[in-house]
Symmetry: C2
Subunit: 228 residues, 2 copies
DNA sequence: TCAACCCAGATTGTATACAATATAAAAAAC
DNA sequence: GTTTTTTATATTGTATACAATCTGGGTTGA
């Protein structure tokens, strides 16, 4: 039964690994994910890799083009606005729901995550810092105990994290991470609608720190070469 | 290329067919979906059926237990509250977003769907009526033009529709369908927060029309046979 | 020189064979 | 007669073989 457990988790392990690598920006949006090499790397058949890629595509992290294959999903500028708006709706509501209702343990957990995040950024470890920032939001949206809302929020957070990695020049950016401690503060001591507003503002900050220049080759070429 | 198109759509066709059958309550929650018969029915190999079932499971319509198989998802009473809460958040926000912003065509479309729905219920065709009711909500959440929010809302609507079919005794229930015309009314002529409130109330109506008795066999037996 | 075309290699799509596992019924033991 | 064990059947899980399709490079023709 040890065997069955480990073979069952195998797929989960591969999924987690890929998800991690993508979210840490080791694989940038647009990067191809060909099945055979992945199968080789993880020592399984393409069947398993296919399942994982399918799951990642349903999760919105990977895009599968028929007969072409999987790649890390790219987001167009118009979609970007929609994803951030969606985040405001869901995470705003969740922030409001948990205001004044967190256990001392949860509060301490959040503060410790904020400290860890600051530390990483100060050390200049931007990749890990961004990852911690994502985990902060993950923890927050799970705190309400509403699984469907938490799942949706996590999908949106992951996607916007990819968006940041697509549009932010690698050096710059970084989350305004003192925002996070202010957020915890108001969620612990403030009123629900205050928390909702602050969360929406915070997401706004992230959004407006982006350089929304379309990098897609087609569009650039079209804009450059158009007769008139 | 006609060929490739049709074979590519094949999977989509199977998915749609299963989704429809489940949402029209021809397959009740808990019903098993074994791969081989499905493959037989649709004239494809298990590979395709597996992909469809995997997708339905990611969509939250089907549950896949390892080494056991797929079945229409069942929802526990605790989860029910979470799904309805999630619907209130997402659909409430969407109702607010579209208030006063629909095109005349969209408004006419919504009214015509409400009329069709009423007609079906009056004819006593409950199954089709419920389906139309679902489509009304689908159309509404797409009207805002925010794809991520619309997708999430549609998933939640589908799931709550399943919940209704799991918990409502087959004869009773039915959506309070004059609610729908009032909703359109306020979305067209009212204020955003009025629309949001009314949408939340409407979802509340659906929720509180349920009989939240746990039908699961184990629980019943345990409660019945326990010594003291 | 440029365009269209075609071919080879690589990659994905599907079916199928076989292994692993669960379920339920029959047999054995108490 | 009841419980446990065993066994048979059905079902899912995985790997692999082969077919369909795409991609890019080279060739041909104007």
């Amino acid at each position: 039964m040890e065997k069955s457990k480990s073979s069952r988790n195998q797929e989960q392990v591969i999924y987690d690994r890929l998800f991690d690598v993508i979210l840490e920006q080791k694989l940038q949006p647009g990067a191809r994910l060909t099945e055979e090499p992945l199968a080789e790397i993880f020592g399984v058949s393409r069947t398993i890799i296919r399942r994982v890629l399918l799951r990642l595509s349903h999760e919105g992290v990977v895009e599968i083009k028929p007969n072409v294959g999987a790649s890390v999903v790219m987001t167009s500028p118009e979609e970007v606005a929609q994803f951030f708006e969606a985040r405001k709706v869901v995470e705003g509501a969740l922030a409001s729901m948990i205001t004044g209702k967190l256990t001392p343990y949860q509060v301490e957990m959040l503060y410790s995550m904020v400290r860890e995040e600051s530390r990483l950024f100060e050390m200049g470890n931007r990749a890990k810092g961004l990852r911690k920032s994502t985990e902060f939001h993950f923890y927050l949206v799970e705190a309400a105990g509403n699984q469907p809302l938490a799942e949706m929020a996590k999908k949106l957070i992951a996607r916007t994290s990819l968006i940041v990695s697509q549009y932010n020049l690698s050096g710059s950016g970084g989350c305004a991470c003192n925002d996070h401690s202010a957020l915890v503060e108001v969620i612990v001591n403030g009123q629900p609608d205050e928390a909702e507003s602050l969360m929406r503002e915070h997401i706004d900050h992230i959004q407006h720190g982006l350089f929304l220049k379309d990098k897609s080759v087609e569009t650039d070429l079209y804009a450059l070469l158009k007769p008139e």
